[in-house]
Amino acid sequence: MGIFKKKVNDFPTPYTVKAAIAEGGVETRLSMLVMGLGNIMHKQVAKGLLFLAVEIMYIVFMVTNGFHCLAMLPSLGSVEQQEVWNEALQIYEYTQGDNSVLILLYGVATVMLTLLMVWIWRGTVKSGYKAECLDKAGKHVNTFIEDVKTLGHENVHRLLMTPSLTFIFGLTVLPLIFMICMAFTNYSKIGNHLVLFDWVGLDNFKALFDSSSILGSTFWSVLVWTLIWAFFATFTNYIFGMILAIVINRDGTKAKGFWRFCFVLSCAVPSFVSLLIMRTMLQPNGAVNVLLRNLGWIAADSSLPFFTDPLWAKVTVIVINIWVGVPYTLLQLTGVLQNIPTELYEAARVDGANAIQIFSKITLPYMLFVTTPYLIATFTGNVNNFNIIYLLSGGDPVVDLSSTAGSTDLLVTWLYKLTIDKQYYNIGAVIGILTFVILAVGALITYRNSKSYKDEEGF
């Protein structure tokens, strides 16, 4: 059971918070309250003052806004909009009440900021302790300028990762946590809970797992189709793209650039344009059926049921997805392919290997090694591939009239219909979470056991 290995710290250091509390001097222990004190007393004045500034800003923020936001979180607001008829002016006057959406969002943001602050605090305590130890041992304590210089070398990962991480936290993780919280509320059009809503705990989850409810049965069938779709979409694109990349890249092919351009042209036109056009062309009276009728391949008043028969619709969607996805796969795999050292190929040819052996013993393993994380990422990306299903089939055909999902609906398009069209935000959030749980477990297991994760330099 490789997942549950005992946690091994790959980066041991003597400067931990525990050590700081146990063995640090008075100034280090005081640093726990007044951040930066330890640094100031041990010759790192600029750094210490910076830490202090951070602490002051945090306290100011919490006093002015943060505590209020946190206080509102349990109740999510209860004041309704007040309306008063003003006889003199002949108008209704409104006083705005609480808006639960904003309260929830600001509350979650404050919680996250506080957690961030705790993490910073730990860092400053460790830094103070380190400064104290180095100073007492008589070793050199970095000046501020030297600290900044390490950003170019030992700590370059801090420099390069921070901008990216900031935006990921602000624009992806924070909204995500907000969405997860929504699943535990009754934020939905049902019962008119769009402005003021409350925590309801696990009620929504119960509704989903109740298989006698429409929602429950829809969920499982949509999930199964989503997994099937993601599997086929990923692998058909990958294999087809790889074959195409190899064929174009081989020595005998002329005008490589031209061929690549032809295929990539189809991703230059925005996908929603090409998908909408294809959708129109495949309708019962669309261009394709008209053409087939004219050619006499099908009877005069019948049409191929591209989007009207469930099985046909599923196959059509997968086939069209090949058209959409292969150019992207082609682009990436070409880059990877071109990076295979040509010496390997030359050596193999000298040894008398034929094309198939070269492919299966050199090209394929190399590609799989480099692209396994990409494959997994594409699989999960296809699970959430909104555009193609929404624009191409819209989820059609709908076989079960009472359910909210059609037979080609993925979890994500079904989610869209539930949240944007019907405004059942909380149910949407629940479905999002469940999808995530099911897929995350599978993806993480596969990923962590894959060679590229375990043994990265071992190529």
Binding site: F11, V101, L105, Y106, G152, H153, V156, H157, L160, P163, S164, F167, I168, L171, T172, L174, P175, M179, L244, G252, T253, W259, R260, L265, S266, A268, V269, P270, F272, V273, S274, L276, I277, A287, V290, W323, P327, L331, Q332, V336, Q338, N339, I340, T342, V370, T371, P373, A377, T380, N384, I420, G428, G432, T435, F436, A440, A443, Y447, E457, F459
Partner: protein, 290 residues
């Protein structure tokens, strides 16, 4: 005997090449066909969204001129310039994020490395549009939801999650032998210099892919842009405009213009690809020896 084998080997090669080229041609036709249809539609003289004939009966340039002259329902030139600006900026930012993150994850070892990789994998599993409203309010709290700063907001949104898409670039960096880095370190380079001067130039094919996909993003997204731009028509992107042309009130007279708009959008993207083609160099032998 040797000559015969040589000749038949040559013949086999010629036959293989011919088969390959014919198959490529057929596939290329299939792939280009819908695009050709869009281009034909953009020149079509008959209005309306439905055609009973495959090829247009009449051709005209009106659809293109109308995009630039008729601003009743949308101001196409302005939208185009907005989107071009946003695409260029977010493309540069995204590429930087992806390459920076991939380099760190591939070459350096630090405590947050494995947790970050797991988190990135897992964050992609959530659908993006659920959090649209939250993102709007976050941007509003930062003061980016009005006026010219809307463009900045869009740039941040489109490039924000780029650091999560490091897989292919990291896989690529993993195959660059560590020996190169070690040689440079011995010579006294800092890691930042290694990143900038050695790793980047070696990664051209991966840069091509990253730049291209990051550039395409803002042109095709209509959901997010609408949520953030709301009523500020001056800062609309092209995708919003194109989407509007498909509404029932406009589709009949604007459908062919829609096709024309789509063609105009594909021009910068196709041009970018052509420009980046030259970075697809065959093979990388000799990098270690040098």
């Amino acid at each position: 005997m040797a000559v015969k084998r040589e000749r038949s080997a040559k013949r086999v090669r010629i036959m293989n090449n011919t088969i390959v080229h014919i198959s490529l041609a057929i596939l290329a036709v299939i792939w280009v066909f819908p695009i050709a249809w869009v281009v034909l539609t953009s020149f079509r003289a008959e209005k309306g969204s439905y055609v009973s004939t495959f090829l247009p009966q009449g051709y005209t340039l009106d659809n293109y001129t109308r995009l630039f002259s008729d601003t009743t329902i949308l101001n196409f030139p302005k939208m185009f310039m907005n989107t071009l600006l946003i695409a260029i900026c977010s493309c540069l930012l995204s590429t930087f994020y992806v390459l920076a993150v991939s380099y760190c994850l591939s070459r350096l070892r630090f405590k947050l490395r494995k947790p970050y990789m797991n988190m990135a994998m897992v964050l992609g599993l959530f659908p993006g549009f659920m959090s649209m409203v939250a993102v709007y309010f976050i941007l509003k709290a930062l003061g980016l939801s009005e006026g010219g700063l809307i463009r900045l907001a869009l740039i941040l949104c489109y490039s924000g999650g780029a650091g999560l898409g490091f897989q292919i670039a990291k896989g690529f960096f993993d195959t660059i032998p560590l020996a190169i880095d070690e040689a440079a370190l011995i010579d006294g380079c800092t890691r930042w210099q290694i990143f900038y001067k050695i790793t980047l130039p070696l990664s051209k094919p991966v840069i091509v892919y990253t730049v291209l996909t990051a550039f395409i993003g803002p042109w095709v997204d209509f959901i997010f842009a609408k949520v953030i731009c709301r009523a500020n028509a001056d800062y609309y992107t092209v995708a919003i405009g194109l989407w509007r042309m498909l509404e029932k009130e406009y589709i009949d007279s604007w459908y062919t213009c829609f096709a024309a708009g789509a063609v105009l959008i594909s021009i910068p993207i196709a041009a970018l690809f052509l420009f980046m083609q030259r970075y697809y160099v065959n093979g990388m032998s000799g990098a270690v020896k040098g």
